[in-house]
């Protein structure tokens, strides 16, 4: 009897093992496997899920037309919770499942951790949101591309705008201590210090998700700053902007791409008026951006979230490259990406040798009457 039981356990264990491997086997190469990785649960899910929607929209359209070169596209959606260690699992999973190109990851940290795995597997990776400089500048990741401009391009724009366009000299630089916001803020601080035209009167990080930012706003007021440069995402930005209005602090608020998002205007409401944010070059007149937004509304009955345009663009260019290259071979894809301009929601883009998009310049926007308008 006792022996029977242990045999049963062994059998059960064996069955479990078999079950674990089942999904790996099979599946001939009759589809193109398109990986999507990013945070789809946890606190940063709101940055990852719009990417999934964008990829779904584009891929559904392509599949409806019969796919690429007769092959349908299959999405592999994997969650990395924006954590480096989970991202490595996500990446190995995508590689094991045979993903041929990957859209993602979202957070810079997770992307940096996952990249060596894709590099070894020679898989093209394109991120709509990872901005940390070394991803393209270090030259270590020849398979990495992005539709967002790196921090190095963004932070000088903010500093330059405050100093030269607005002519302000006392500037407070605030960030959210994150892997996106802090390097941006540091870049802006450096640009201001180097220019010699202005002074950084305050450089501090705030705790994201804190219930109340009045103390830091009072400190900004005390520092006598005429402008606040903020590196971080829109939820914190809207909290600070509202608190600045509440505490009657009149200073210009200049922020980054993470804030140049319609959700910011939605959430901050009338407090958003007058806020400046850097964003990819004017896309309001871009027909594709408008079309993408309409598609999202029709399909998901809501406005698209952060990094949607970039993800839509990345999916479009990657599929275009696969179609033109006729394969998913990395070098062939790279060649197409670098040589051919493609019309996307962030403008007509191709990529430079490093992997940064050419044609995604930065403009300064301002919220006017509930809309982002380009500041000329």
């Amino acid at each position: 009897m006792k022996l029977m039981k242990s045999k049963k356990i062994l059998a059960a264990a064996a069955v479990m093992m078999m079950a674990m491997y089942a999904p790996v086997a099979g599946n001939a190469a009759d589809t193109i496997k398109f990986g999507v990785a990013g945070p789809h649960s946890g606190d940063l899910a709101s940055y990852g899920l719009p990417t999934v929607n964008a990829a779904k929209l584009v891929i559904d359209q392509v599949n409806a037309k019969g796919g690429i070169n007769g092959k349908k596209i299959e999405m592999l959606i994997e969650d990395d919770v924006c954590k480096p260690e989970i991202a490595t699992n996500t990446a190995t999973k995508l590689v094991s499942e045979g993903a041929q190109v990957v859209l993602g990851h979202i957070c810079s940290g997770a992307t940096v951790a996952a990249m060596p795995i894709y590099r070894d597997a020679k898989i093209l990776v394109m991120s709509p949101s990872a901005t940390t400089d070394p991803l393209t500048y270090s030259g270590e990741y020849p398979n990495f591309f992005r539709t967002i401009a790196p921090n190095a391009a963004q932070s000088p724009t903010m500093a330059d705008f405050a100093l030269n366009k607005l002519g302000l000299t006392k500037i407070a630089v605030i960030h959210d201590k994150g892997d996106y916001g802090k390097p941006l803020a540091e870049g802006a601080k450096k640009a201001i210090d180097d220019s010699g035209k202005g002074k950084v009167v305050l450089f501090e990080g705030i705790t994201p998700g804190a219930v109340d930012y009045s103390a830091i706003v009072q400190k900004i007021k005390q520092s006598g700053a005429e402008a606040v440069i903020f590196g971080g995402y829109h939820p914190e930005a809207s909290k600070i902007v509202s608190m600045m209005k509440k505490k009657r602090l009149k200073a210009e608020f200049i922020s980054d791409d993470g804030v140049k998002d319609d959700t910011f205007i939605k959430v901050a409401g009338k407090d958003a008026e007058g806020v400046y944010a850097v964003g990819p070059e004017d896309v309001t007149s871009n027909k594709m951006a408008m079309k993408a937004k309409e598609e999202h509304k029709a399909a998901f009955k809501s406005d698209p979230g952060a990094f949607f345009d970039g993800a839509y663009a990345a999916t479009t260019v990657m599929l275009h490259a696969i179609e033109k290259a006729g394969s998913t071979d990395l070098d062939a894809l790279k060649k197409v990406l670098q040589e051919e301009k493609v019309e996307t929601p962030v403008g007509a883009i191709n990529f430079d040798q490093k992997g940064d998009a050419v044609g995604v310049g930065y403009s300064m926007y301002q919220v006017q009457n509930g809309k982002y308008v380009v500041v000329k």
């Binding site: 006792k2 022996l3 039981k5 242990s6 356990i9 062994l10 264990a13 093992m17 674990m20 491997y21 999904p23 790996v24 789809h40 649960s41 946890g42 959606i77 994997e78 969650d79 924006c82 954590k83 480096p84 260690e85 490595t88 699992n89 190995t92 999973k93 590689v95 094991s96 499942e97 957070c107 810079s108 940290g109 940096v112 951790a113 060596p116 795995i117 070894d120 597997a121 940390t132 070394p134 270590e140 201590k177 994150g178 892997d179 802090k182 390097p183 540091e186 990080g205 939605k266 009955k301 809501s302 406005d303």
Partner: protein, 408 residues
């Protein structure tokens, strides 16, 4: 309970849940466009789902009660779990060990590098769980900031590798030692604290370490983290990614075996018994002449030591560290491993780690419902097996109480 009565209660419960989930499941508003969407179909799903889940839960509970009743009639000895029975019988135990080691050793050969990679993570958590088990399970000190020591280990390798190109094997003892030192540092001020006050101070300590790593950019490169950390070396041979993963896998197996061996010996040592005595009753323990201070400090530093070691492995495995990996949630997961497995039980911790780390990975099939299911399973496991999956067998003499008196 008769069948009809159960159905009636199930109906009432599902009605209650329809009410409960009404605003969040049914109404969806867009405050800017000012549109309301009523999703009445969700109410129906909730009602049906609750009905089925309720019946299922009732069924399981009924069976459990029946089992308990029959047990008290037959013998009042606590029933040992299957695993314990197998472990107690040398013949079966050897069979199990042979079978297990065959599966474990052959694992990377017949599985993809993803499977191996996930298994490495699970093995890392086995060691982390065993380390925390010393502090929480044996010494009874609730530590919610265990992840701090993990971070110390990971960053010591990351920084030493980045600045001085020190290798994995050189840093391994340094990382463990540093973490143990931090364990003593934390241990000193909190010696007087008990129970949940200790918990919150350790939580605070964990947060302080993370915040320092986040803010002190000159030292730790802040939130951007440190990348390109070398993987563990094998006598100077360059390994491809796949073989590096397999190498790390066997390395972790080795670590797990060593840890199990040491922890097992510790448990039966004078020190281990002192910890258990400390957990059961501090005052009585002191009266017996045990140095409370020293015992607690050793528990903290030994627990931290393992976290430090695994921290080094973590940095070597991901080749990248940033503070985002060391949040409070991580501590909570490690603690869950210990409690879920069965406090103080080594086999339990192994099972707990396997379940809690592999579960979210294999739940990926549920895509967006992954974490929802994870939370629900955590609750369900605690409700149905509150003492943990495998409770520790203790050498105890039991004072028998009758069942009816068992109120507390």
């Amino acid at each position: 309970m008769s069948g009809l009565k159960v159905i009636k209660k199930a109906l009432l419960t599902s009605l209650w849940f329809v009410f409960l989930t009404f605003p969040i499941m049914v109404i969806k508003v867009d405050p800017v466009e000012r549109i309301i969407r009523w999703r009445w179909q969700n109410s129906l799903y909730v009602a049906l789902g609750t009905f089925c889940v309720y019946l299922l839960a009732q069924f399981i509970l009924q069976r459990k009660i029946k089992k308990l009743e029959s047990q008290t009639e037959q013998d009042s000895l606590p029933k040992e779990s299957v695993i314990h029975r197998i472990l107690a019988n040398p013949k079966q135990r050897n069979l199990l060990i042979v079978a297990l080691s065959a599966v474990i050793l052959a694992f990377p050969l017949f599985s993809s590098s993803y499977q191996t990679n996930v298994m490495i993570t699970a093995l890392m958590y086995v060691v982390l769980g065993l380390g925390l088990n010393i502090v929480v399970g044996m010494a009874g000190l609730l530590d919610l900031g265990y992840v701090a020591f993990y971070a110390v280990g990971a960053y010591s390798y990351a920084l030493l590798n980045h600045h001085f190109q020190l290798g994995f094997w050189a840093v391994l003892p340094i990382g463990g030692g540093l973490a143990a030192l931090f364990g003593i540092l934390l241990g000193f001020p909190v010696l007087r604290l008990r129970g949940d006050y200790l918990a919150i101070v350790t939580l605070g300590f964990g947060e302080i370490i993370r915040l320092i790593l986040e803010n002190w950019s000159e030292f730790s490169k802040g939130p951007s983290g440190i990348s390109n950390i070398s993987r563990p070396g094998l006598f100077g041979i360059e390994l491809s990614l796949d073989s590096a993963i397999i190498y790390l896998y066997y390395l972790m197996i080795l670590f797990v075996i060593v840890t199990i061996f040491i922890v097992n010996r510790l448990q039966d040592s004078r020190l281990g018994r002192a910890w258990i005595a400390l957990r059961e009753d501090e005052i009585a323990c002191q009266a017996m002449g045990i140095d409370k201070r020293k015992t607690k400090l050793v528990a903290f530093s030994l627990g931290a030591f393992w976290a430090g070691i695994i921290g080094v492995v973590f940095a070597a495995k991901t080749t990248f560290v940033n503070p985002a990996s060391f949040t409070f949630l991580e501590s909570a997961i490690i603690l869950s491993i210990v409690v879920l497995g069965g406090m103080g039980s080594i086999v339990g911790v192994i099972f707990g780690a396997m379940i809690l780390i592999l579960l979210p990975e294999y739940l990926r099939a549920l895509s967006e419902y992954r974490m929802l299911a994870f939370g629900a399973i955590l609750v369900a496991m605690m409700v149905f097996r509150p003492q943990g999956l495998i409770s520790n067998i203790r050498r105890t003499y039991r004072f028998e109480k009758t069942h009816s008196l068992n109120v507390k």
